[in-house]
C-alpha cells in the first residue's frame, strides 16, 4: 500500500512517526507495510516508488527545514510524478478558497485515489462537491482528524451510532480558545491568556482563525454535512468569537458557578459557534486544550466524548484510524 503525504508540518511528521512505529502492526494485519512513496512540503518534495524511510524524512525536515531536495512550482505535477494509492492531505488550511489543499484533494479523487485529510478549509467550502466526486470515482474520502483531533467524533457517529437519529452535537471544537478561556477562569485577562497560548505554540501569531471562531465554524460545517447530511458551507454558520469576553464577565459567571466556553452547535436547523455559559461540572466544562462534544441521539440519549483536539501524534492517531478503515475496506 503506497501513500503520498501532501504537507509535512506538525501533522505530516507525526504521521511519519506513527507509520514507523506501527510497521509490525500493518505487516501483521495486512501482510505488507504501508509505504510512503512521496512527500511534499510547501516548497520541496521527495519521491521513491520503493518507499521512503519515515524517520529519515522527519530528521531531514528538522535539520534543513525542508523535506526534499527538489523544489516545485506545481504541486499537481508532483502528485503525478509517482504512483500511489492514498493521498494524505495535511497541508496548511485555507478557510477562504480551500487553497492548494483543495486542488490536491480534487486532483487525487479525479485520478481515482483514496484521500485522507485533516484539512478543514476544503471540507468546509466544498464538502458536497468533494463527496460527489469521490462517489463518482468510487474513491474513499476520510476526514476524522479534521474535527476534534484525536476525539473520534465522526467515525463514532458514522459507525457506532449509525442506526440512531442524531438530534444535535454541541461541543468545544477549538483547543486554543478553550485554553484561553480556562486561563481566564483563574483571573487572567484575555490578552495575557492569548499571549501565553502563543508562547506555548497553541495559538498562531495571527490568532484570528481560533479566537474569531472560524476554525470551530469549519468543524461545525464538516459535522453538519457529514453527520446530519446537510449541504451547508462556512458562510451559513452564525459565528461569534471570544474576543469580546472580559475578565469581569468570567468573574460574574464564576459567582454563579458557571464558566464560559466557545461552543459549536449543530442540529437539523442550527449552525452556530458562540461563547456560552456552562455550569461547572457539566461534561462540556473541560479545561486546558481539551476538546469535548456531546452527541444527543434519539435512542442512546446524550453521549459525551472528550480528547485532545490537536497535536502531532493526536491528529496522526485520527489519520491512522482513517487509514486502517480504508485498508480494511480495500481488503474486503
Amino acid at each position: 500500500m503506497r501513500i503520498f503525504i501532501a504537507g509535512f508540518g506538525t501533522v505530516g511528521q507525526g504521521l511519519a512517526e506513527v507509520l514507523d512505529s506501527r510497521e509490525m502492526f500493518f505487516k501483521k494485519r495486512y501482510g505488507e507495510n504501508v509505504k510512503i512513496v512521496g512527500v511534499m512540503d510547501s516548497k520541496t518534495y521527495v519521491t521513491d516508488p520503493e518507499g521512503l524511510a519515515p524517520m529519515d524524512l522527519v530528521s531531514r525536515k528538522a535539520e534543513t527545514k525542508r523535506v526534499g531536495s527538489r523544489t516545485y512550482t506545481d504541486a499537481l505535477e508532483v502528485l503525478d510524478s509517482v504512483d500511489y494509492d492514498i493521498l494524505v492531505e495535511v497541508s496548511p488550511t485555507n478557510y477562504e478558497t480551500g487553497g492548494q489543499g483543495l486542488k490536491n484533494i480534487v486532483h487525487a479523487l479525479e485520478c481515482g485515489k483514496d484521500v485522507i485529510t485533516t484539512n478543514k478549509g476544503p471540507l468546509a467550502i466544498k464538502f458536497g462537491d468533494l463527496i460527489a466526486l469521490a462517489r463518482r470515482n468510487r474513491c474513499k474520502l476520510k476526514f476524522e482528524g479534521s474535527v476534534g483531533g484525536a476525539m473520534p467524533i465522526i467515525n463514532l457517529c458514522h459507525d457506532n451510532l449509525v442506526g440512531e437519529k442524531i438530534q444535535s452535537i454541541r461541543g468545544i471544537l477549538n483547543g486554543t480558545c478553550n485554553y484561553i478561556l480556562s486561563k481566564m477562569d483563574s483571573g487572567q485577562p484575555f490578552e495575557q491568556a492569548l499571549k501565553e497560548a502563543q508562547q506555548l505554540g497553541y495559538a498562531e501569531a495571527d490568532p484570528t482563525g481560533d479566537v474569531g471562531g472560524y476554525d470551530s465554524a469549519c468543524k461545525v460545517v464538516i459535522l453538519a454535512n457529514s453527520v446530519f447530511g446537510r449541504n451547508v458551507t462556512f458562510s451559513d454558520v452564525s459565528i461569534t468569537g471570544i474576543t469580546g469576553i472580559t475578565e469581569e464577565a468570567i468573574a460574574l459567571a464564576k459567582s454563579r458557578n458557571m464558566v464560559v466556553r466557545l461552543i459549536g452547535e449543530v442540529t437539523d436547523t442550527k449552525l452556530e459557534v458562540a461563547p456560552r455559559l456552562v455550569p461547572r461540572g457539566h461534561p462540556l466544562a473541560v479545561t486546558g486544550t481539551l476538546n469535548a462534544a456531546q452527541i444527543l441521539s434519539d435512542l442512546a440519549g446524550p453521549i459525551t466524548i472528550t480528547g485532545r483536539g490537536a497535536g502531532r501524534l493526536e491528529t496522526a492517531s485520527a489519520i491512522l484510524s482513517d487509514l486502517i478503515s480504508v485498508l480494511d475496506d480495500r481488503g474486503e
Partner: protein, 187 residues
Amino acid sequence: MNNIFPRASYDNIINVGQIFSRVKMIVNAELYVKDLPGQLVGSLEPISMVDGNIMGVVHDREQIVNHRISLNVTFEVEDATQLKRLEDIWKSRDVIISSIGSVYSTFSMEYLLIGRITASYVERLMDEASQAVTVDSVDIQYSSKNHHEKRTAMISVKVREEGDLERLDRFLGSACREGAITYVRGL
C-alpha cells in the same frame, strides 16, 4: 381511623426533563401538621433538605382538622425524584400531605451581556422582552466597569414555556447585535 385527607397524586406534575435548559418544578402542597410548638419549622425544613426553595407559606390556624392545622406551602424542587424524597421525609415526620397540586414547570436560562451598557438600558431591554414573552422572574447582576468602560450584566430568567426561551434568545441576540454588545447565553 379513616383517612379523612384527600390522596396526594403526582398525576398533574409536569416534568419536562431534557438537556437544553434547566427545568424545575414549582409545587403547591397542602399539609396538615400537629398543633404543637416546632411543628411548623419541622415541616418546612425537609424542603431545604432536598435542595428545594420555599417560595411562599400560608399557615392557617383557623382550619383545624383532627388537632392538626393547615399549612399551604409553595416551593421549587429539581425534579420528581426530589419531590418523592420530600414526601417520604414528611411522612416519616408525621406530616400529612392533603394534596399536591397547582404544579407547573419553569425553564431557566442565564445570559451575559458585555459592552458599554447601563443598568437602565438592560432594564428597558428586559421590559421590552417581557412584552414579547411571559417571564416568570428576572434577576440581574452587574459587574463594575473595566478599563475599556465595558461592564457585564448577568441576567437570570425563568419562563413557563420552553418556546419562550427561544423567543427571548432571538430578541436578546438581535438587540445585542444592533448595540454591538457581546451576547452569551446558557446551554
